[in-house]
């Protein structure tokens, strides 16, 4: 008996749109059954994906292990001998105008950014996914209401809303996370709803209904496994957006409390030193943010293309 062959995502050379076109041409010769060419052709992940994954892994690893790494405390320890000093053997990323170690703050700030990004998006993923699934599956008045709310929330200037909530509730890690999480809900909900619409009209969903499956079962066992992929792809991008927003809030002074290290507040600190020959204070957190966001976007895009959910969904 031949062993069932699993799709091997890495075994084949990379492809191009021309090859996919060729596949469509070859496959389309007929009245025959439809060819899901996205599934038929396997593609190797591009190099940019791997570079991004490595960058992201380094940043996540640094954030997680920061406490065990031989870094000085970014707040308590300061070096009065080196105020706003450039990178050196002792301070790889230099120091702030208060003499704090920039590398330490960047690493600890990564932790803040990741915590806010991941938890906020987890919130958006859960509630947005649920709303999108239910709205896309049942349609009707519920869908109309949800879609209207999503559109309104997406149209509202997010940063202004976040600023308002944070200044009203007071800056704390929890408040910032929940605020940004609420802002992530409509983005995920919209994607989940669009993907649900696409799959809920497929005949396997109809088949499940005629087999006597409950709506709950159909939504979670049949639709969700298909919808979760575009949701995950958009969530990765959402993490990036939330991290930028978090830094933005901190930069505006409305982010996490001042004693929590953050890329945004570090950039704000460095802003005043930009014209005094100490650009590194801004440069390093900005670079860390840039690399993280770029990596998340690249990985999200790759996944979206891989599963061919980009069309009409986003």
């Amino acid at each position: 008996m031949p062993v069932p062959q699993q799709p091997d995502l890495t075994a084949l050379p990379s492809s191009s749109s021309a090859q996919r076109a060729a596949a469509v041409l070859v496959g389309s010769g007929t009245s025959g059954a439809t060819v899901d060419d996205g599934q038929v052709l396997r593609r190797r992940l591009p190099l940019s994906f791997w570079i991004s994954a490595v960058f992201l892994a380094i940043i996540v690893l640094a954030a997680v292990t920061a406490d065990w790494l031989p870094f000085v405390d970014p707040v308590e320890d300061y070096d009065p001998q080196a105020l706003a000093a450039g990178p050196s053997g002792e301070h790889l990323f230099g120091t702030t105008s208060n003499g704090n170690d920039v590398l330490s703050i960047v690493v600890q700030g990564a932790r803040t950014s990741l915590i806010v990004g991941l938890f906020a998006v987890a919130l958006g993923f859960f509630f947005g996914g649920l709303l999108g699934l239910v709205a896309g599956y049942f349609r009707g008045w519920f869908d109309t209401v949800i879609s209207a709310v999503i559109d309104i929330l997406l149209a509202f200037p997010a940063l202004v809303l976040a600023l308002a909530i944070v200044s009203f509730k007071g800056p704390s890690l929890t408040v910032v996370t929940i605020t940004l999480g609420i802002l992530a809900i409509p983005a995920v909900a919209r994607v989940a709803r669009a993907a649900t619409l696409q799959y809920a009209s497929r005949e396997f969903v109809l088949a499940a209904r005629t087999l006597g499956a409950s709506h709950k079962r159909v939504i979670f066992r049949e639709v969700l496994p298909n919808v979760v992929i575009p949701m995950a792809a958009v969530s990765l991008v959402a993490v990036a957006v939330v991290m930028v927003a978090e830094s933005g809030l901190a930069f505006l002074g409305a982010g996490v409390p001042a004693d929590t290290p953050s890329w945004g507040s570090l950039m704000k600190l460095g802003q005043g030193q930009l014209d005094k020959g100490a650009a590194h204070i801004c440069l390093f957190p900005a670079a860390a943010l840039f690399i993280t966001v770029y990596s998340l976007n690249t990985i999200g895009d790759t996944l979206r293309q891989r599963f061919d959910v980009g069309r009409g969904v986003l």
Binding site: P7, T34, Q39, R209
Partner: protein, 337 residues
Amino acid sequence: MAGSGTAPLRDPDVALLRVEHLTVEFPAGRGRRVHAVSDVSFDVYPGETLGLVGESGCGKSTTGRAIMQISRPTGGSVKLAGREIVGTTGEALRQIRPEMQMIFQDPISSLNPRRRVGDIVAQPLEIWHRGDAEARTAKVRELLGAVGLDPDTAMGRRPHQFSGGQCQRISIARALALEPTLLICDEPVSALDVSVQAQILNLLEDMKARYGLTMIFIAHDLAVVKNVSDRVAVMYLGKLCEIAPPDELYRNPAHPYTRALLSAIPIPDPTVRPRRREGVAGEIPSPLAPPSGCRFRTRCPRTTSRCETEEPAMTAAGDGHFVACHHPVVEPAPVAG
């Protein structure tokens, strides 16, 4: 065509399925309605295969879905083994579901791309908590074997690893898992190549014999319908035109639309030159505003003023042969032979 009436109905105590005055309408905005199925009546005896044939937009698929209660009928009655199922909802409807199953046109779209074939076929058994895991696996293996797939290789794979014909086999296995009495096949071979089509048609015949099925076979291809059916009903624009045993229908089509359909079939034999068309000018009218009287009158070569005002009722035109036409054709069709 545009025929109504219950003349074709037979003994209600024998019929497994009895559809009376079935009507399905969809709102189309601005107060308009799509008249998808209008006052259709037929029945199916146990072990029989009813072929439902017509062109796109004739309401044949909607009829199938209305029987399954996927598209809710706006009127009429559907009785399965004497039980009324129009109007049942929730758990009562769910309890009826295992009795009737459906196979769809698109074999790829009928299977969840993210689940393994073994799970897909086991799904109905799980929903109904039939047997333990071991018994379910045994049943899945039996079903996959019955539809001509090797259970050992098939169970662990996902649908995209199979061809269209194989996916349709998997759909059939899933539909049979609950041992339904009625199987509705909605264009099950339209998306397949001819050589694969023959395999699936043979398989359906085998499954019908093996599991004692009663079938409704919906298709646009008259030759395919003839091959599998014991009775054939022709639909046009939401109405039944004609219903008869296949040999009778194909030899003596009485409805002008049936004749038009038959004469349009391309025959794979060059000695049969394509006949002059039997009056199928124009195209199907909009189901939003179907013609008055007989719905076929706008394209019918035999139409008179009576067809405009009076809807023809189903009347007997032979043994088990019913036609809804004011001016049925009596001479044999040019097609047979």
